[in-house]
């Protein structure tokens, strides 16, 4: 049984912390579906979100091994309880005179925003959980997609579930 888990990590904002964590995943053959990281409101600390898959035993090892890293302050498996997950996608599509109207409508349906325009392209910004972004890509004429970039998921617990030191 291999489930998708979304793991949040508070880590000292030090050079090398990211490679230590990424290295742990590759050395122990754990999966990484996506990894995002940026400093928190306290600049001495970064918050990382890792999406991974594995059996219960593997996920238990992942959280234990992460906790063992000297720079890691806290680790939470968000998927253990209610949580929210968002990902940002920027997608550049062909939008010549013919396609403009359609493309705009499609973006509206998915609550995307056109954030850059040229003679023959639109760049659309879209946030949501991963499946929504997938659905948007599916809904487009595949030939119209020129470029996509996705951030990977960020996650946060619902309500009073708070991860901080």
């Amino acid at each position: 049984m291999s489930d998708r888990h979304i793991i949040s990590i508070l880590v000292e904002n030090e050079a090398g912390a990211l490679s230590r964590i990424a290295g742990l995943f590759s050395a122990r053959a754990y999966n990484i579906e996506s990894l995002t990281v940026a400093p928190t409101e306290d600049a001495s600390m970064s918050r990382m979100t890792i999406v991974t898959t594995g059996s219960e035993d593997v996920i238990e090892q992942i959280t234990k091994q992460l906790n063992k890293l000297v720079e890691v302050v806290k680790v939470v498996d968000l998927s253990e309880a209610e949580h929210i997950e968002r990902e940002l996608m920027l997608i550049k599509v062909r939008a010549g005179a013919k396609e403009r109207e359609d493309m705009k409508r499609m973006a509206d349906i998915f609550r995307g925003r056109v954030i850059d325009v040229s003679d023959n392209t639109y760049t659309i910004e879209l946030t949501g959980d991963g499946s929504k972004l997938d659905a948007f890509i599916q809904a487009l004429d595949q030939g119209a997609i020129l470029e996509t970039v996705r951030t990977g998921a960020s996650g946060i617990g619902r309500g009073n579930r708070i991860l901080r030191v």
Binding site: E60, N67, K68, V70
Partner: protein
């Protein structure tokens, strides 16, 4: 007080009470060597290869309660040391490694003797730090010592660019370190400990399985007290030998791939298993699925949560410092109204004695060719069981573990986790320096000893009177054994052709060498060697090239599926 980075390094070592640094100089560490030259509190031991520096520092740690320190230059100095660092890491040995690095402005430019030291060593250290500013130097070294010896110990590396050793800043050695991201537990969970005590008291076929954690945490006296209080059988891993007195009747010998029949059988058939400072390694429990076939309750005490339920699911996990947890367990058992069921325990012991009566370590004592086991038995006798014994890796290592009965912790020094050939001799140097005047033996094989042979020169320089017991079977014996058992007797590249004359070799380094080729000469040769308190003696024993290590659990098999000597 304003000091240069190099002065700070040496001051920090002095503040930490470091007596010896094992090292090798080079461009990136010249300022540090210059400061070492100007003082005499911290003594430097000049090895002949950086791998030797790391192993010597490691051996020094293993045989003392201090943290071994090694110092190497950038680039090849570091890469040479990596094997030694990984060896210490796999066995959780506290060690501080100081490495020189190219100047900060040159980092990343493929400078002369530049390697990404922090990157290369990341997977084989507990932690590592690149110091980019001299202001961070003292605190980084303080952290290194703190991290190395607390929690689950391990090597910590501090990488110091040359310009940082030349720059200056105000120096004050921090009294302590506080890290919000690092706080190892000590006390175990009281509720879990209670559950554990209850399970043990109700056990019908109990077993206590102990590992290197007992030795590392100085828990041996408490372990002995606890085991004797219950009267339960006790076994130990390769790393745990000496954690419980081997001559005690409650001790079943080592378990695992080359463990005793009684230890492995009891492990498989017990109904309550207490694991203390051990990690259910693949060389210990064999095939985990086979191990799980017999139902049993498992209690696991370890300082490292990630060691628990990693390979084997446990019922009562207790994360804590081993001595603290054992003390609690002792109190609970002493206070408990009930005792373990005496009838059940008697029956269990009767079964164990039956297993023990197989005499699984039997070998041909009438042999005309020297049997390696015989050499170790004589070594045990001649040294009164009181030597520090280091070993290399192979058959000789297993025979030393099986036949030298360690009654005290920190006497058996070997590379269990990484299995590093070449470890024995340099480790013995560290052991001897940590224990001046003590008897130190290196049990090795003709192949292993050649991997760090150059350290014979270091032994001469520092007058280290190590006794080398070379079990010379002309083969990479352990490789040959596997080829005999599992590869149709095809001895592919395991014969050591063109061996040197070890006697002349030892003499060439200024030591004494002796060749022993008859069983009757074994004991006299040993007696003579150990009488020479101030000399290194290299004893080259010509042993039976066909001898195998028994029992043996073949890879992938269950722990009770042993090949025994008599079956062949």
């Amino acid at each position: 007080m304003t000091l240069t980075g190099a002065e700070i390094v040496v001051r920090c070592l002095q503040e930490e009470g470091v007596e010896y640094v094992f090292g090798y100089p080079g461009g990136a560490v010249l300022f540090i060597y210059d400061e070492l030259f100007k003082q005499d509190k911290v003594k430097h031991v000049l090895v002949r290869h950086e791998q030797g520096a790391a192993h010597a520092a490691d051996g020094y740690s293993r045989a003392s309660d201090k943290v071994g320190v090694c110092l190497v230059t950038s680039g090849p100095g570091v890469t040479n040391a990596v094997t030694g660092i990984a060896t210490a890491y796999m066995d959780s040995i506290p060690m501080v490694v100081l490495t020189g690095q190219v100047p900060t402005h040159a980092i990343g430019l493929d400078a002369f003797q530049e390697v990404d030291t922090v990157g290369i060593t990341r997977p084989c250290v507990k932690h590592n730090i690149l110091v980019k500013n001299v202001k961070d130097l003292a605190i980084s070294i303080k952290k290194a010592f703190y991290l190395a010896k607390t929690g689950r110990p391990g090597p910590v590396l501090v990488d110091i660019p040359k310009d940082v050793t030349a720059a200056s800043c105000e120096f004050e050695y921090p009294e302590s370190v506080a890290m919000r991201s690092y706080s190892p537990v000590r006390k175990g969970h009281a509720g879990q400990i209670k559950k554990a005590a209850q399970l043990l008291l109700e056990a019908k076929r109990p077993m206590i399985y102990t590992g290197g954690g007992v030795v590392l945490s100085d828990a041996a006296p408490l372990l002995a007290e606890f085991v004797r209080l219950l009267g339960f059988p006790c076994t130990s891993t390769l790393m745990g030998l000496g954690g419980y007195p081997a001559t005690d009747p409650l001790f079943l010998g080592m378990l695992g791939m080359h463990g005793t029949y009684q230890a492995n059988m009891a492990m498989q058939h017990c109904d309550v298993l207490l694991a203390v400072g051990a990690r259910f390694d693949d060389r210990v429990i064999g095939n985990p699925a086979h191990f799980a076939q017999n139902p049993r309750k498992i209690i696991h005490v370890d300082i490292d949560p990630s060691s628990i339920s990693k390979r084997v699911k446990v019922d009562v996990p207790i994360v804590g410092h081993v001595p603290d947890v054992l003390l609690e367990l002792i109190k609970l058992v002493q206070a408990a109204p009930q005792r373990p069921d005496p009838t059940a325990l008697k029956a269990w012991w009767a079964q164990i004695e039956l297993w023990r009566s197989k005499d699984c370590l039997r070998y041909d004592r009438a042999s005309k060719i020297i049997k390696p086991q015989f050499v170790i038995e004589k070594l045990y006798e001649v040294t009164g069981g009181d030597a520090f014994v280091t070993s290399d890796v192979g058959q000789h290592q297993m025979w030393a573990a099986q036949f030298y009965k360690f009654d005290k912790p920190k006497r058996w020094i070997n590379s269990g986790g990484l299995g590093t050939m070449g470890f024995g001799l340099p480790a013995a140097m560290g052991v001897q320096l940590a224990n001046p005047g003590a008897t130190v033996v290196c049990v090795t094989g003709e192949s292993s000893i050649q991997m760090c042979l150059q350290e014979l020169s270091t032994c001469k320089q520092y007058r280290l009177p190590i006794k080398i017991v070379n079990l010379n079977n002309k083969y990479m014996g352990m490789v040959r054994q596997w080829q005999e058992f599992f590869h149709g007797n095809r001895y592919s590249e395991s014969y050591m052709d063109a061996l040197p004359d070890f006697v002349k070799l030892a003499e060439g380094y200024g030591h004494r060498g002796v060749l022993v080729d008859k069983p009757a000469d074994v004991e006299p040769a040993l007696r003579d060697a150990f009488r020479r308190k101030d000399e290194l003696v290299f004893m080259d024993f010509v042993t039976d090239p066909t001898e195998n290590v028994y029992p043996m659990v073949p890879g992938g098999k269950g722990i009770s599926e042993m090949i025994l000597a008599e079956e062949l």
